[in-house]
Subunit: 392 residues, 2 copies
Amino acid sequence: MRAINRFNVLDTIRRAGSIARIEISDRTQLSTTTVSAITASLLDDGLILARTEGDLREAATRGRPRVMLELNPDAARVVGAKIAANRMVFVVTDFCGEVLSTLTLALRVDRQPIGVIADLIEDGVRRCVVDANLALDEIDSVCLGLPGVVEHRTGHIRTSPIFRESGVDFAKDMSERLGVTTIVESDAHAITLAHHWFGQARDLDDMVLVSLEQTLGLGVLHGGQLFRGAGGLSHNLGDLVLGMGPQGIIRLASLAGESAILGDQPSGRFAEAIRLGRGMAHAKTLIDAEDNTLISAAIRAGEACGMALANIVTLFAPPRVILVGSSLALGQPFLDSLREAYSLAIPPSIKGVTELVFDQSTDETWAQGAAVVALRELYESPWGTTGPAPAL
Amino acid sequence: MRAINRFNVLDTIRRAGSIARIEISDRTQLSTTTVSAITASLLDDGLILARTEGDLREAATRGRPRVMLELNPDAARVVGAKIAANRMVFVVTDFCGEVLSTLTLALRVDRQPIGVIADLIEDGVRRCVVDANLALDEIDSVCLGLPGVVEHRTGHIRTSPIFRESGVDFAKDMSERLGVTTIVESDAHAITLAHHWFGQARDLDDMVLVSLEQTLGLGVLHGGQLFRGAGGLSHNLGDLVLGMGPQGIIRLASLAGESAILGDQPSGRFAEAIRLGRGMAHAKTLIDAEDNTLISAAIRAGEACGMALANIVTLFAPPRVILVGSSLALGQPFLDSLREAYSLAIPPSIKGVTELVFDQSTDETWAQGAAVVALRELYESPWGTTGPAPAL
DNA sequence: GTATTTTTAACGGAATGCGAATTAAATAAC
DNA sequence: GTTATTTAATTCGCATTCCGTTAAAAATAC
């Protein structure tokens, strides 16, 4: 019970950024007495800080001024990472989720042996931590955001475009390598939480996010919690079936996946751009130069995404859908056809329920989302005076 | 806190049917002391009964014999109803969900004015209650299961094939007519809970049910709770888009809805059978007589359903999917093509995660499911010594 | 100084949960 | 037939935690 209330108070403080006790009592419906007791213990554990100044009401109010409480950024540090096929992005954040250092490695890792990938990740984490002027043992938790189907609870990677193997217990591997608790999560789930904490869904506890990257992912927020499938695994939108063609099943990935849009580019400048992870940006310049092959690929992809999106809205009926990912960089042809297909396909009965938002987040935001995944687990874990208590 | 534990204990007793306190303590992780206190209060409120005999362990065990606890069937009575376009089925059940009386009205109500439909439902409820040798004021709650998109929380019917109007506040209407708390729920959600309590999902807290009736519905059970969309509304699978054809969007309903399979039958014996709600049964006899039009319609429908099913499994990854509804009566051509399309469309990465179960429930089971919806709300509501306390 | 508002402190009461001891009810052993 | 043993359930005492009330302390405006 205390644990629940404690978490609620802490989360209220985080959402507000800076808030007085009496306001917490208002929002959480807890008595001022209880809030005082809980905040005292949070202050004691060093999770929050008190600031005397900063009362935003009119200065001309009488009475004892409010003491504003806010998260103590130094209460914990975590590492978040976005691992993609052609790049890795690491961030170190403080307890508030603010980024302390960033590291981007542009290198193609897909289909490497698992040991090689683990080596690179380990290296990236260590370097990013050093960049933040920290040592690894000052890091409380690491979260890796990966594409594909990830079982967060068990730490297994079911399938991922960056691994040849399937069913890897990657969380355990990396925990042992780093000597720090390491968890894994789908990259789509990570960016979903990033938007919940910092982005376009700060005001919402229910929403859906669709990520259009090399892999097509989905994040569903339901009551402020990620909706993970039974078994805790993430979704792979690319596997959605859009119809039956002459050569069999047509999946979304085959129309809207990165390779479907960019095509097979065996050589040349475009192929080089793709290899370096600039494929979509380069495609945009080609589209602007009216490359008809690419334009029609983008339109096809947009239509497919719009239809799939309509199906997802039919199933989840969220107030807002956020679209993110590199494919958005394709620009008008893609976005217009997506919007058009969506409004055609959305059933009339739920028209107007859902708002569509496009968001071009940087890779850093994705990594920050992974950090948020780690932080959320810290928030819920019991704390001693020195740091988070080890799990039972 | 007590309320939560109380509900847990009550639900544990319901699941077990008959169970000793010490066993409850085992399963709920509550101390025997707490279980004793809670069961005492439940006994006091008349919600459960104690039975001295019935200890199923070997008779030759020493020690004080266990006192088995079970639900008191007489603690409450509810009415559940399945309202379909061409029939209404009512049941009165006791507190355990056991059916006390049944009433089927075979009449076509779709597109009647709302007052007429309400009249018929009111009449059905009253007659079914009388059949159970009860008076309406002995009924604690009524739940109506309707096809279409239903907002359970607010009691509004967003769209339903049986109403001309949309956005009707039907729960309020019927509550006033009957003088009994009346709630509404999607028929698919009702049958989902029926399977959770009595059917093929007794052992599962996570599963998905797909109902193939006149309307195509979906029920998602997640952690023992129905997963309702962000506004508490139900899903309409028929609106799912399966592809783009020459005449525009192809929705599942246009391939696998009842009218899509049976076709437009303006007259004749078949049309008469459809009007009476025997359409699918009659179709089966025609299929057995090798009516090629129907066979190919059934195959098309099966394929469409199989693909849609694969998409749902991709999104929810439940351990089990239960398929119910009148369309199952089409037999082999439909089921075989469904299975085949499903196994083609299911992505390899989650092959084997989900088990497919077909279930031909009677209409009574659907109505019983609606009763379960009502009972679950009673279970959670606070009780006085005389009956459920009125909502605040 | 007085008034006002926020925060902390102190006390009592109520609810809840747990552990230990106790009682209850049966069988097994003698 | 009595006693011991075993298992189930209850009782009792204790700790926690919450809330409400009241009062005091802190800090500022007037």
